[in-house]
């Protein structure tokens, strides 16, 4: 999975030429609420302005992409990443600014880029390959490869409208990767298709990277972005928020998501039903540091959770759980595991947990606080009650921090020593 990227563009013997360059690109969308001639005539002029809504999907985007890099475009829904991809692909013209590119480009935007439902898979392969710039002869030469990669089999002579969405994408992806593109644009299509096919796609993307092709991909799977991309561009409300190392971009994106979540939670909080017993809140910080400071490997983590009960709860448990950003449980503990009995809960009580010598890997972590009764029933949970960050560590990935070292062994000597 996590093969180290031994080759980066800077190591290549030939300096990588620029394949895409966008200068001051902005895109304004005008949304009209009236679409028929009658309505348009009725609401012409000044009144018409009220029926128009403008927004900037992209603002002053400046990027240069060198050949051989894999760039991820990330951002929440509506941040403009798909629009940017379409502008790069020439499908949408920017309102201002210019985009220049060189080399052959293939785009895989949404489902089945340009299949005609009434034609068979075979006919669509030829049509689609021609759209992507292949001659009939070239397509014929590659047809067997395309077919075997897609795994469509005998369905190739069936009309495409009878295909499942997975088959659709498999065939489209297969055609696109066999057109020998210098630049491949991929928008969120890898999510479709079964796991085996996804693996095949990822392998193909890897070999594309080795062959020095450029890939620009839009993905909501942040894991995929950190795994595949050597650069990521984070967009927020149409502007570039961060451009650089994929891991750092993903961390920055998670911070934005967290801010939004807190805002939304704050807006929604008046509606929260008060349970009989509840978690009032929690804080987390490294011992000796302020709340919000990054937690370094080797720090002691101090988590304080406050619980309350309207009535009285005799045997109760205050549990904590730490999740990473993808929701995976990284750590959890509770007083029952530590053989500590708590006094009855009849008013606000705070528990202080100290977790010694933590070695979390880089990323964002969430603390969930739970109040349980003696039968281990959850009385009240406060998911993501507080968060902390572990700074980016360039030498390793994953949820555990540990320092790696490396030396090259002579294979013969190694075997001898093993015996």
């Amino acid at each position: 999975m996590n093969s180290p990227l031994l080759e980066t563009s800077s190591d290549a013997p030939t300096p990588a030429p620029v394949v895409i360059s966008a200068k001051d690109v902005s895109k304004r969308f005008v949304v009209r609420k009236d679409n028929a001639l009658k309505e348009r005539l009725v609401t012409m002029g000044k009144l018409g302005r009220q029926h128009r809504q403008e927004f900037w999907a992209l603002r002053d985007i400046d990027i240069t992409i060198e050949a051989g890099t894999t760039v991820g475009l990330i951002g929440h829904n509506g941040s403009g990443k798909s629009t940017l991809l379409k502008v790069i692909g020439g499908i949408i013209q920017p309102t201002t600014g210019t985009v220049s590119r060189r080399g052959r480009m293939a785009a895989l935007l949404e489902l089945g880029a340009g299949f005609h439902p009434d034609l068979t898979g075979r006919e669509n392969v030829f049509l689609n390959a021609s759209i992507l710039g292949l001659t009939r002869k070239e397509t014929e030469d590659r047809f067997d490869d395309i077919l075997s990669f897609s795994g469509i089999g005998d369905f190739i002579d069936t009309q495409v409208k009878f295909y499942s969405s997975g088959m659709y994408v498999r065939l489209a992806f297969s055609v696109a990767v066999h057109t020998e593109p210098d630049v491949l644009l991929v928008d969120e299509v890898l999510a479709v298709g079964d796991e085996a096919f996804q693996r095949k796609c990822l392998d193909k993307i890897r070999s594309f990277q080795e062959e020095g092709r450029t890939i620009i991909l839009v993905s909501h799977s942040l894991g995929q972005v950190t795994e595949l991309c050597d650069r990521a561009i984070l967009l927020n409300r149409g502007e570039i928020e961060f451009d650089g190392n994929a891991h750092q971009a993903v961390t920055a994106f998670r911070n934005i998501l967290e801010e939004r979540r807190v805002e939304e939670a704050a807006a929604a909080s008046p509606d929260v039903v008060v349970h009989e017993g509840h978690v009032l809140g929690a804080t987390v910080h490294a011992v000796g540091k302020a709340i919000g400071d990054p937690v370094l490997p080797g720090d002691d983590l101090r988590i304080v959770m406050t619980f309350d009960h309207d009535d009285k709860l005799n045997d109760w448990i205050g549990a904590l759980q730490i999740d990473n950003a993808s929701g995976q449980v990284v750590y959890g503990t509770k007083n029952s595991l530590m053989d500590v009995r708590l006094p009855p809960l009849s008013g606000p009580v705070s528990l202080e947990y100290i977790i010694h010598n933590v070695t979390f890997g880089s990323g964002k972590y969430f603390v969930n606080a739970s109040l349980l009764d003696s039968a281990l029933r959850h009385v009240h949970d406060m998911p993501q009650a507080c968060t902390f960050n572990v700074p980016f560590y360039p030498l390793a990935t994953g949820t555990v921090h540990a320092e790696p070292t490396l030396r090259v062994l002579d294979a013969a000597a190694h075997q001898a020593s093993a015996v």
Binding site: I92, A107, E123, L127, S130, E210
Partner: protein
Amino acid sequence: MTASKDSPDARTARFRRLASVPLDTIGSRSRPLAGAWTSIREIGDQKEMLGLLVRRDLKARYKDSALGFLWSLIRPITQLIIYYVVVGKFLGAARGIPDFAIYIFTGLTAYTLFSEIVASSTASIIGNAGLIKKIYLPREIFPLASVGSASFNFLIQLAILVVAAVVVGSQPLSLDLLYFFPSVMVLLVYATALGLLMSALNVYLRDVQYLIEVALMVLMWASPIVYTWSMVRDILGNGILLNIYTSNPITLSVLGFQQAFWTAGEGTPFPDNLLLRLAVTLVVGVVLLFVSQRVFSRLQGNFAQEL
């Protein structure tokens, strides 16, 4: 697939090749003449694509029907029979027009080419929304593919017309046949110009396709297909009104077709200088085609988001 040990070479070779290619700026055409030239060149690069799209249009149209291509014959023949029986016999138009069936079919063939191009290219951009939203192609290709598939149907109809004219007509081969070429050029140029313009406008205002349906109906009855030009002259007189009526490019083309194929109408009156009129109309049409291409390329920048 490239073996991985070759890949550094493949990588270097690719970088070298890419470095030698100039950076192309996407879609910026400032000067109208150069812009039109770029568009024409781009479309020229996609000839094969255009052929495939035409074939797709033709194939997809009758894909799941048992009679398939026969349908493209059944429609005009039915039309012919209706006009022949109802207008010719019941309403008595056939009495004044020799070889009335050939006469009608000649006009219908010419008019159908025009109407089919305009109607199908108007719908072409919306019909190909799936492609346009996902892939960059010179968008003129879609209306042009409609022109291609309409022309194919036209050729079938033309073949029937020629066979019928040979069977019925006394002297099928004459110099008058040459009228066919300027007439068909005028039809193609005007239909393409109108089709390009309307296909782009239709994206922004869906009313256009209904407007076109109505306009095509009017145009059919505004040209001498089921009646003759001399009937119009008898009513309008030789003044400006007749001139306006005759200057309609479809009327001129229909008249040109009739000169070419309707040999029985030797003695019936035709407007003077038909060939000159066709030539002037053709020149005007080429200018219109240029203008509508410019409008199209101005509007096409926002297609992907408006669809």
